[in-house]
Symmetry: C2
């Protein structure tokens, strides 16, 4: 028997589910450390996390039967709202075909220096400048988790990894891999270097082929946005690395590039 | 001076631009070999292609000034419609922030056997089963082009690479890399084997690590959808290959997996 605290919602105007109203628009404005988690896999990650807490869960009634395992994990002080498909779609503002939502909240925020200070001796870190696209951010987190990255750092021009779509595309990895924001690329590089990280700066015009890179014991992969790429001053002072490809081809998507580079760097360091 | 045949459109009801009406919905129904190309890079690929032709171009008036190079390439028998932003958005049915569209059409359709028969001696082919997501299809084409794949084959359960979003995500690669549809995975494998291709079947539970694969002279990378993966009968009869990752991590996105595998297979064959 589930101990979950199930509350039936019959009206789109019910104030108890106000946090779920118009989730698409709500996602883009001030969220006070809160975020929307969608889908069974992501909710399981949320309930297993020590850095995030669930405030409430919102389920489509026809999904309840298949979610016993999830409901078992939900403490009874967390309301589990349940509504019909029509009421749920009316509240969310569009068709919620998965019908499994939660409001999560960050329980701790760490600065980059504190996060880096506790990295393991052979850490792999992903460092991002200018990744403003939610899909790319989510996909990079998914790849970071797949290849055992210990943290993700990002500058002020990156989007928040806790956007609904970034979390969804990451399949929950945005709630798994610890992250911290830092003001800009220069500060990020300095923080990494002061903790003994070798930095691999990925660029289409990089001087070293990724296949020839021997990673250092502590290694950071630095990625910039497609198009502008990494700031020139950073590329000049760091070893720049390229993924070789057909000469007449423009460039890879930054998430695809992260997959290739992280797969190469994941091997045990020298 | 551009020779382009520029035609001013002032009404959303103008029948000359009927093909652009409600492009999002139109994309999903019968398209009679036609497709929507978006953005400067994709239009340049379209105008350079021998397998596709443009039927018309549709530009937002404030984009005209920066597109002299593109307009130079457009024959004067192809109408170039120009409208204000409001008229264009009204026609397309949503905000067209790029403001650069064309209707393209396939001028030839090849079956898989004919396409494979003319592959070069050391060809690299991507073979897809069940890739129904437009973003993944577009991203796989982009990776295929980056790493010099000579063709893409796909089964009946894959989506059309000429969907608007697949072309856009591919950054035009869907119009560059030749492709053909074939009824199912078994027929695809037989067609590849009869042309002397070694097939690398990618699977999270693959027997060989991708890092240990020595590619054959003719090589095909076989990819299935996330979740279901490749059909069991194909995995049993083919050498299955995995991308090793953290043990507690579920799986990579199929486009990310294609990037890693194609980057590994792209090297000159033995």
């Amino acid at each position: 028997m589930s101990k979950a605290n199930i509350i039936r919602i019959d009206s789109v105007d019910d104030e108890r589910i106000a946090a779920y109203r118009d989730v698409r628009e709500r996602d883009l404005v001030g969220r006070q450390g809160r975020f929307i988690a969608e889908g069974r896999v992501v909710l399981n990650v949320l309930f297993a996390s020590s850095r995030f807490a669930a405030e409430s869960v919102f389920l489509r009634e026809n999904r309840l039967a298949g979610l016993e395992d999830l409901l078992e994990r939900i403490d009874d002080d967390i309301p589990v709202y349940v509504a019909s498909g029509d009421v749920m779609d009316g509240i969310a503002g569009f068709h919620m075909h998965r019908g499994i939502l939660a409001i999560g909240r960050r329980t701790q925020e760490e600065d980059a220096a504190a996060l880096l200070a506790k990295m393991p001796p052979a850490a792999l870190v992903v460092a991002l400048c200018g990744i403003a696209n939610h899909d790319n951010m989510g996909a990079i987190f998914r790849n970071a988790a797949a290849f055992g990255a210990d943290a993700v750092l990002f500058d002020q021009t990156c989007c928040d990894p806790l956007y609904r779509k970034a979390i969804r595309v990451s399949v929950g990895a945005a709630l798994k891999v610890p992250f911290a924001k830092i003001e800009n690329g220069t500060a990020m590089v300095e923080a990494l270097e002061s903790e003994g990280f070798d930095i691999v700066a990925l660029s289409p015009a990089g001087r070293i082929d990724i296949c020839a890179v021997k990673r250092g014991r502590r290694c950071a992969l630095l990625l910039g946005a497609e198009g502008p790429g990494l700031p020139g001053d950073l590329l000049e002072r760091l070893p720049s690395v390229r993924i070789s490809m057909r000469e007449d081809f423009d460039s890879l998507n930054v998430a695809a590039a992260s997959a290739i580079a992280l797969h190469r760097l994941w091997q045990a360091p020298e």
